[in-house]
Amino acid sequence: MSESENEQKLANEFKSRFLETQDRNRLKRLLAKRLRDCGWKDKIKKRCVDKIRTEGVENIKLDQLEESILTHGREAVPDDVKVEILQQISSFLDKHISQPQLEKNLK
């Protein structure tokens, strides 16, 4: 099995575990709160409203709006929020995917 296939398998494993537990919801709520607190949400919302107003409400669809905002939205997330969430995810990994399992998976 190649390296990347292994990684893929691991990622899937991780994903399904992540979904099974409540951690995903907890993290989502945390992220939403952080983004709201740092003003990210307001900024993005403002941008969306501006975009709609410029284009005209009948002329823009949801997908287009999402697309136009996506890159900027990702970039605009403050670094400390990213770091915090990443730390949470890695601690989740540590907790749930124990070493023996990892090895088993990699075989």
Partner: protein, 626 residues
Amino acid sequence: MTSKGNSKSTQRKIKQKKPSTATNKKKMVTVDNHVKVTPKIEKIEPMLLKQTDISSVKGKPTKPLKKGVKRKAEDSLVDETFQVSNAAVSHPRISQKVGCRHLEKYKEHNPESYLVNFKAIAELSMRCYKIGIPRESKALRHQKCSDCNLKGDRLHACLDCVFIGCWRGESHARKHFKNTRHIFATDVQRLEIFCFGCSDYIYDIDYDNVKKHEEVRAEEKESDIKEPARKRARYVPWKPSAEESEKIKKNSTPFPCSGLRGLLNMGATCFMNAVLQTFMHNPIIKNYFMTDKHNMNICGTSGCMCCEVDNLFQEFHSGEKKPYPPCSFLQSMWLSSKELAGYSEQDAHEFYLAAINKMHGDSHETKHQELNANIQNCECIMHKTFGGCFQSRIKCSQCDMSSDREEHMVEWQLHLRGLVTNQKKKNGTKASQESNSNEMDVDKNSLEDCLDRYCEKEQLPGFKCEDCENRYLSEGESFGKAKGSVNSCSRTTTCKKLPPVLTFVVERFHRASTKTNTIKNEAEFEFPEEIDMAKWTSRGHDVLEKGGTLDDLPNYKYNLLSVVNHEGKINTGHYTVYCKSRDRWFLFDDHAVKCASVEEVLQSKRKAYLCFYVADTLEYDQPNVN
């Protein structure tokens, strides 16, 4: 005020001692965002309590008031979610009525059942997401995609069957639509409705009412659980029974038409009075000021025109019937603006433009950038109401060059074909239609004709196509076309973004050259009560050009709102205005206010100067259903 009785008869004031239980009364006060939350509330409230209004308002569940907290109109709209479809019209009460043609048909086909599934989903959703307490519903909290078992965010439930699908990317919700053609899905958590035909979330008042209703139920349940001792009273929509409405009628005194008041002529100020009346009966401007978005007591800037308009609204809804002298308005206009001072032009159109600029300048929502910079996104009330955008596309017929330019607009100027003047002959007999030499050429000038002509392709002689020229320069003779492709370009102007209120200006005042006097064109201009603007939008134009039909476009219908007329000669003439208020037409002639009929309004073909249309998708006044 000479307004006649027939509108009085339906408008009844309910005496305070009157009906029902205390709870009912309390609910009535919460009803409508039109109510200004200031001392004015006492003055306006009775007009909202017309019998007809009660039933319509009652049928609509509103969130109960929280203790002592003024319910801000906006809070109900601006939720946690992005209300994408409403974001552009960020005004309370104003929402898309039938934005989606698919839903219109769907309702027609399922008149009995179109809400049933949604109601069930809404109930479930409230139990899963809104009420945090009951353990029994724990299972429900883990709804998942029927196909892939993905749990969590943005699950959408089909409105036609029991399917729940995931959302991101090429989702199972979309797949379900492709397989079954079940066109509507609702976000399980947010209860917004998505139409796969429109590829967008849509808004509909019926679904929204169900949602609000379920929200109230959920809140009630939640407070039962949290504070079982308190025994919260159940919200019951109240429709007066025959007996009750009889009682209301018997014990009520008719309340005069509210919001209708003449304006005294302060010396050739009828041009101003006419335009002000259209502002006063413009639903968006009215909502803005009636919800205290610009309060003269808070702003207090001297010479602020928004304050002056706020003052007018107070005066119009004070219950006072005598015509109002707009002295302070006139004064602050003189003091503040050179354009308006002197009003030598006495032109309603000029005043309309000047008022927009002035109120734009005075508004608190205006982004204080240089004027004209980014005016497209200006959030002042005037630009939000009247601001749209034209697109002019220059196209070359020899190469593929096509370039678009956008232009902000607050009015749509319509050119009349042919010239008809009306002059008195020396012997005093009225010469009807003494026109210039082209009388035979006088075209039909309906609004539709004028718009067709406006959006017609127009050749641009002498306009050089840069692309062609560059290709000629680089490819030389092999490009084939002669260098002088000067006449290959054409321009088409269409409306890219229609404003909520469309202003048409009929070019009646005509000046052939600087040497000649301005003359007034009294050619007939026919305008309809309703118009579908789809054809003249950039989007509609493109669709038609590709041979498509306008059926799949959003609703671009507009309804006539007011008409400013100019009567008589150019300098001695007089302005009057027809406005629609609470579904009835009135003629405002300075101090006088008269009832009018729509036929009468549409007959003013020779006088119409400014015509205002309001988007049909805006929902404002509850119509008077008798």
